[in-house]
C-alpha cells in the first residue's frame, strides 16, 4: 500500500474514534465551544486530506458534515437528530475508510442520501446562508483553493489546512507518488459532488492558536513505528533476558568470578531495557474505551433509557496485545449493562432512583495486574431467574443449587448459552456473550468476577495481566521433572504432610484437602500428566500423601495440584510450542530457564478442564473469603452430615473430623474384645455409633476418623451424606449420651453428635492428655502484607501454628486498627509496602505508648545485613525471610513466650 495512503488511514481512523467520543460529549454539552472546535478541526483535517488524496466520496461526506457543524458553531441549536445525522455520516466515512483499507481504492457508490439530509438539516437550521458557494476544483488541487478562498474575519482556516498538509505530505516527492495512486482510482462519485468538496469552512477556531502549537509539538516528539518492529524488539529483549539469566546462573556457581561486576551491570541494563521496550507496547486503556460513549449513546436512544457513561482511569496503561484482546469483551459487557443491567426510566422512577442510569467503567493497576470494573446502578441480577435458567438448562440440579452461595449461582451467567434476558433484543440476549467474554478473558490468563445487589446494581470485575510476553511462574517438580505454573492462577501454597493439619484425604479414591473448612479437590500433577519418575526408585506410597499443594483458581474453579516440590518463582518468556506438541492442552508453552534447561509451562485452563467442569465442591476463593467473613458474624459452621443408627441425619462439626475413610469389612480385625483396623502403619480402634445395631457382614464401613496427638479412632457410621455450611444452634437439648441435642440444619431436624462421648471409648485417657497443646490458640496475631499472594499463603500457616490471625493489607490500615483499641499479642509485618513501609510502621508502633510492648516481627524477601540492621533500628524484634516458614514459627514462639514470661 502506498505510504501516504497508509498514513492517512491510520490517522483518519484515530481521528474518527476521537470524533465519536467528542460528538457524544458535545451533545450533552452543546455550548462547549472547545469540544465543537475540536470536532470541527478533526473533520476538517479528514476532509482536507481526502481532497488531497483524491477521495471524492469521503471528501463530500466530510464536507457536508462539516457544513452542518459549522451551523452549530454559528449558534444553531444542537438537536439530537442533528447529532445522530452527523454520527451517521461518521459511520459512513468509517465504512468507506474500511473499504479503502481493504481494496486501496475508494469504493463506488453514492452518498447522496446522507449528503442531502445533511444539507437539509444545515439549511433548516439557518436558512440564511447558502450551503454551496463553492468554486470548482479538480482533484488534488485543494491547496490552492484554500488560498483563493475569502476568509471570514476571525477564521484561521489556513493554519489548519497547512497543518494537515504538513502532516500528510512527508516529503514533496511523496505527493508525486500519491498522484498516480489517486489517478488510478476509479472516479465513482457523480460529477456534481467533487465540486462542492473544496469549501473548507475551516473555522476551527482555536483559541489563540494554542492547540496548533501543541499539535505541532506532539508530532515532533513522537514517531510512528510499525507494530512489527516493536514486536521484534520485544522478542529480542526477551531473548536477552533469557541469556542474562543463564549467565547469572553460571556466575552464581563460580564464587570468585571476574565476570560478576560487569554481569551485574549487564543485568541492570537488561532490566531497564526490558522495561523500556515494554513501555513502548503500553497503551492507555482509554484506547479500548474510545468507542464506548458512542455505543452507549446509540443504545440509550435505541432502548429508550437515559444512560450516563462514566469513565475513570482511562490513562491506565497496559500491553497493546492485551488491550486488543479485551476490547471486544469490554464492549460487550457495557452493552450488556446498558441493555439488561439498567432499567427503563419508568422503572427507575418507581424504584426511587434518578431516571438516568449510570454505567461506570474504571481501571487501575494492582500488583502486576490491571483491574477493570464495569458497574451499573441498575436492578441487579435476578437470582430466581438465574436459578430457573440453570435448572432448565440442566447445568445444575435444584439440590445442588441449594448448597450454592448467591455468588456461585451468579457465576452461571458465564456459562455457555446463558441469557436471562426475557426478550431477545437487538442488543443482547442472544445467549452468546458472557461465555465468550469469559473465554476471551480466560485466554489471556485473566479472571472475571461479578457482584450483584438486587435493586442496587451489578459490578463486573476483570483482572488481567499487564502483559502476556513475560509471565511470572512458580517452578515446581513432579515425578522428577520440573514444570512452570503461571503465578497468576496460583492462590496459595499448602504443605501437606501425613501428620500435619493439612492432610491429603480421600473420598473413595478422590483426593481432597480440607482447607479452611472447605473440601478442595486435588489432583496429582504426575497423574494428570501421566508421568512417573525415571530411574529405579518407583513412586513410593509416601509421596501420595506428602507433597506441596498448589492451590489454583481458574475462573470460578478452585482446585489443588499436588506436586513433589516447589522451588522458586521465575519470570519467564513464554515461547510457543512446536506444532507437534500443540495439541497437548495441559501446556501453554515452553521456555528456557536460567540454568539452560527447557521447561514446560502448565496451562491452568487445561488442568481445570481435565478436572472437569462440575466443580460444585470447588468453591471460588472469593466465596471462601466471604464465608469466612460471614462466619465471624453469623457463626457459620461446616457440618458433616451422616446417618448412623437411625434414619434421622446426624451432624458433627467438620473441623473436628480429621478424615473420612471407608474400610471393607474384611479389613476389620478383632483383638482383645474390640474391633481394629490397620491404618497408616498402626492399629486404629473402631467405635460403633450404635453398639447394639446389627453389624454389616459384607461391603464396607464408612467412618469418621478423629486424630489427635498421634492417635486415631474410627467412628463407624452407616452413611456419609454431605458437608454443609450452616448455623449451629442447638435448639433442643438431649439427655441421651452421645448427643448434644437437635438443631435445624438445612431445614431438617438434625441430631448433633457429641464426639466427646465416643472418644474415650477408644482411648480412655483421650482428654487427660489434652491440656498441653491448645494454649497458643488464645494468642492473637496481626499479619500485614500488601500482596494477596502472601496473605493467602502465610495466613493459614500462622493459623495452623495456633494463632488467631487477623490479616491486613496495608500498614496504615493496621495502625488504624491498633490505635482503635484492637489488641494483638504479636505483629508480623512485611517490609516492602506502598504508602507506609514496614520500617515506618514499626517505628510508628514503637512510638505509641500503649503499643510499644507488642512484639513485632519483620517478614521480608529482602534479607540483606543492611536491611536487617535497619529493621532492628526501627524496632523489629526479629527479621525473617519470607520463605522461611519454620524460622517464622520459631521466632513467633520465642517472642510470644518471652512476652508472656511463661516457660513452656
Amino acid at each position: 500500500m502506498d505510504d501516504l495512503l497508509r498514513e492517512f488511514l491510520t490517522e483518519t481512523n484515530e481521528s474518527l474514534d476521537v470524533v465519536d467520543v467528542e460528538l457524544v460529549k458535545f451533545e450533552q454539552d452543546p455550548n462547549n465551544e472547545k469540544i465543537l472546535g475540536n470536532i470541527f478541526r478533526l473533520v476538517h483535517t479528514i476532509k482536507g486530506t481526502c481532497g488531497f488524496l483524491g477521495l471524492p466520496r469521503l471528501e463530500a461526506i466530510a464536507h457536508a458534515a462539516e457544513t452542518l457543524m459549522g451551523k452549530f458553531r454559528d449558534g444553531v441549536p444542537v438537536t439530537e437528530a442533528a447529532v445522530t445525522l452527523v454520527l451517521q455520516s461518521i459511520d459512513r466515512i468509517k465504512q468507506l475508510v474500511a473499504d479503502l483499507e481493504a481494496s486501496e481504492t475508494e469504493p463506488a457508490g453514492s452518498d447522496e442520501d446522507l449528503i442531502s439530509q445533511l444539507e437539509r438539516m444545515a439549511e433548516a437550521g439557518k436558512p440564511a446562508e447558502p450551503v454551496t458557494e463553492v468554486p470548482k476544483h479538480t482533484e488534488g488541487a485543494l491547496i490552492y483553493q484554500v488560498l483563493e478562498r475569502q476568509l471570514r474575519p476571525g477564521e484561521v482556516s489556513l493554519d489548519e489546512l497547512e497543518r494537515a498538509f504538513r502532516e500528510t505530505v512527508v516529503e514533496p516527492d511523496r505527493s508525486a507518488e500519491a498522484a498516480p495512486a489517486a489517478a488510478a482510482e476509479p472516479a465513482p462519485a457523480p460529477a456534481a459532488r467533487p465540486a462542492r468538496a473544496a469549501q473548507p469552512k475551516a473555522e476551527a477556531k482555536e483559541k489563540d492558536g494554542e492547540g496548533e502549537a501543541k499539535a505541532g509539538g506532539v508530532s515532533a516528539q513522537t514517531i510512528r513505528v510499525a507494530v512489527d518492529t516493536l514486536e521484534h524488539l520485544m522478542t529480542m529483549v526477551s531473548e536477552l533476558v533469557l541469556t542474562r539469566n543463564q549467565l547469572l546462573e553460571i556466575v552464581r556457581r563460580h564464587e570468585d568470578s571476574e565476570f560478576k561486576v560487569p554481569l551485574q551491570r549487564l543485568s541492570n541494563v537488561t532490566a531497564e531495557l526490558q522495561e523500556g521496550v515494554m513501555k513502548t507496547r503500553m497503551q492507555p486503556i482509554g484506547n479500548a474505551w474510545q468507542k464506548l460513549p458512542r455505543i452507549v449513546r446509540d443504545l440509550s436512544s435505541e432502548l429508550g433509557k437515559h444512560i450516563e457513561l462514566e469513565m475513570i482511569g482511562q490513562e491506565t496503561e497496559l500491553d497493546r496485545q492485551v488491550l486488543e484482546l479485551i476490547k471486544d469483551p469490554l464492549t460487550h459487557m457495557v452493552r450488556n449493562s446498558a441493555d439488561h443491567g439498567l432499567e427503563g426510566p419508568d422503572q427507575r422512577k418507581a424504584a426511587g432512583k434518578p431516571d438516568k442510569g449510570t454505567i461506570r467503567l474504571s481501571a487501575y493497576h494492582e500488583g502486576g495486574h490491571i483491574i477493570i470494573e464495569i458497574a451499573d446502578d441498575g436492578r441487579g441480577l435476578d437470582l430466581e431467574k438465574i436459578r430457573n435458567k440453570i435448572v432448565d438448562n440442566g447445568l445444575a440440579t435444584e439440590f445442588e443449587l441449594e448448597k450454592m452461595s448467591e455468588a456461585q449461582i451468579f457465576k452461571y451467567v458465564f456459562a455457555p448459552g446463558f441469557s436471562t434476558a426475557a426478550k431477545v433484543t437487538n442488543v443482547s440476549g442472544r445467549g452468546v456473550g458472557m461465555d465468550v467474554v469469559k473465554t476471551n478473558i480466560d485466554a489471556i490468563g485473566g479472571t472475571v468476577d461479578l457482584k450483584s445487589v438486587a435493586g442496587k446494581g451489578t459490578t463486573f470485575t476483570i483482572k488481567i495481566p499487564l502483559t502476556l510476553a513475560i509471565v511470572s511462574t512458580l517452578i515446581v517438580e513432579s515425578a522428577g521433572d520440573r514444570f512452570a505454573i503461571p503465578q497468576l492462577s496460583v492462590v496459595e501454597l499448602v504443605r501437606a504432610q501425613q501428620n500435619s493439619e493439612h492432610r491429603i484425604e480421600r473420598i473413595r479414591d478422590t483426593p481432597v484437602l480440607r482447607l479452611r473448612n472447605k473440601l478442595l479437590p486435588l489432583v496429582h500433577l504426575s497423574r494428570l500428566l501421566d508421568i512417573t519418575s525415571i530411574g529405579a526408585e518407583a513412586t513410593q506410597p509416601v509421596s501420595e500423601e506428602d507433597g506441596f499443594i498448589v492451590v489454583m483458581q481458574v475462573g470460578q474453579q478452585t482446585f489443588g495440584v499436588v506436586v513433589d516440590a516447589v522451588f522458586h518463582t521465575e519470570e519467564i518468556v513464554v515461547k510457543p510450542m512446536s506444532t507437534m506438541l500443540r495439541h497437548i492442552n495441559m501446556f501453554s508453552g515452553n521456555t528456557i530457564l536460567g540454568d539452560g534447561s527447557v521447561i514446560m509451562i502448565v496451562d491452568p485452563n487445561g488442568i481445570a478442564q481435565a478436572i472437569g467442569p462440575s466443580q460444585t465442591a470447588g468453591t471460588s476463593e472469593e466465596a471462601d473469603h466471604e464465608e469466612e467473613r460471614t462466619r465471624e458474624t453469623a457463626q457459620m459452621v461446616s457440618l458433616l452430615l451422616f446417618r448412623a443408627g437411625s434414619d434421622e441425619p446426624k451432624a458433627v462439626p467438620l473441623s473436628l473430623v480429621t478424615r473420612l475413610e471407608e474400610f471393607s469389612i474384611d479389613k476389620v480385625e478383632r483383638s482383645n474384645g474390640r474391633d481394629l483396623v490397620q491404618y497408616r502403619g498402626s492399629l486404629m480402634p473402631l467405635v460403633y455409633f450404635d453398639e447394639f445395631a446389627q453389624r454389616k457382614t459384607e461391603g464396607s464401613l464408612p467412618m469418621l476418623v478423629f486424630s489427635d496427638a498421634g492417635r486415631s479412632m474410627g467412628l463407624v457410621v452407616d452413611e456419609i451424606i454431605d458437608i454443609v455450611e450452616d448455623r449451629l444452634e442447638i435448639e433442643v437439648g438431649s439427655e441421651r449420651a452421645g448427643m448434644l441435642g437437635s438443631a435445624v440444619i438445612k431445614g431438617k431436624a438434625t441430631e448433633v453428635v457429641d464426639i466427646g462421648h465416643f472418644l474415650p471409648q477408644a482411648f480412655e485417657d483421650w482428654f487427660r492428655r489434652k491440656e498441653i497443646s491448645s494454649e497458643a490458640l488464645t494468642r492473637s496475631l496481626l499479619f500485614i502484607d500488601d500482596a494477596p499472594f502472601f496473605r493467602n499463603m502465610l495466613g493459614p500457616v500462622l493459623k495452623a501454628a495456633g494463632y488467631r490471625v487477623t490479616v491486613c493489607a496495608s500498614a496504615p490500615e493496621a495502625l488504624d486498627m491498633l490505635e482503635h483499641g484492637r489488641r494483638f499479642d504479636v505483629i508480623v509485618s512485611d517490609i516492602e509496602m506502598p504508602e507506609m513501609n514496614g520500617f515506618e510502621f514499626a517505628e510508628a508502633v514503637k512510638r505509641h505508648p500503649r503499643l510499644r510492648q507488642i512484639p513485632i516481627l519483620a517478614l521480608s524477601s529482602m534479607c540483606t545485613p543492611a536491611s536487617i540492621e535497619r529493621g532492628r533500628q526501627s524496632g523489629f524484634d526479629d527479621y525473617i525471610a519470607k520463605f522461611d516458614r519454620p524460622g517464622l514459627i520459631a521466632a513467633l514462639k520465642e517472642v510470644t513466650t518471652h512476652e508472656f514470661g511463661v516457660a513452656a
Binding site: 531473548e239 533469557l242 541469556t243 521433572d481 520440573r482 500428566l529 501421566d530 508421568i531 525415571i534 515461547k575 512446536s578 506444532t579 507437534m580 506438541l581 500443540r582 495439541h583 497437548i584 495441559m586 501446556f587 515452553n590 521456555t591 528456557i592 539452560g596 534447561s597 527447557v598 521447561i599 514446560m600
Partner: protein, 155 residues
Amino acid sequence: MSDDVNGLNESIQYVTVVIGGQLFGLPIERVHDVFVPDSITRVPLSRPEIAGVLNLRGRIVTAIDMRRRLHLPPRESGGTAMAVGIESKGESYGLLIDNVGEVLDLPTAGREANPVNLDARWAAISGGVHRLNGQLMVILDVDRVLGGMSEAAAA
C-alpha cells in the same frame, strides 16, 4: 530438493547416520548441525516418538527418537545418542540417532525406488535406496518423517 534437470552428472550429498544398525542418508542441505543432545526435557502426553524438548543455543528444539519413529527397539542404556538438527516450517527439530558417519556424494542416477516389500512404516518415510559398497543406504525423507507426525497429532 534438486531435480534431475540434466540427468547423469547430478549428485546429492548425503550425511549418513546409523539408526539401529541400518545406514540412512539425509540430504546435506537439510542438516543444520550435528550435536550431542543434552538434558532433554520430557514432554508428558506427547507422542511416544517425541523424546522431549531441549535447548540448543537458545532455541527450543523438539527431539525425535528415530528408533521409535522407525519402530526399532530402544537403544541399550549407556550408548550415547547423537542428534541431527533440522529445520522444518520455521521450527527446529533434532533427530536422535545412534551415530553419524561420513558425508557421501552420490549420483542421483544411482538412487533406486524402495523395494516393494519394504516395511510400510519405513517406506512411508524413505525416499529411496542407494546401493553402496557392502551395504545399502536408505534415504530419509525429512519432511515425511516430520509430516507424518504432525498429521497424526492433528488427528
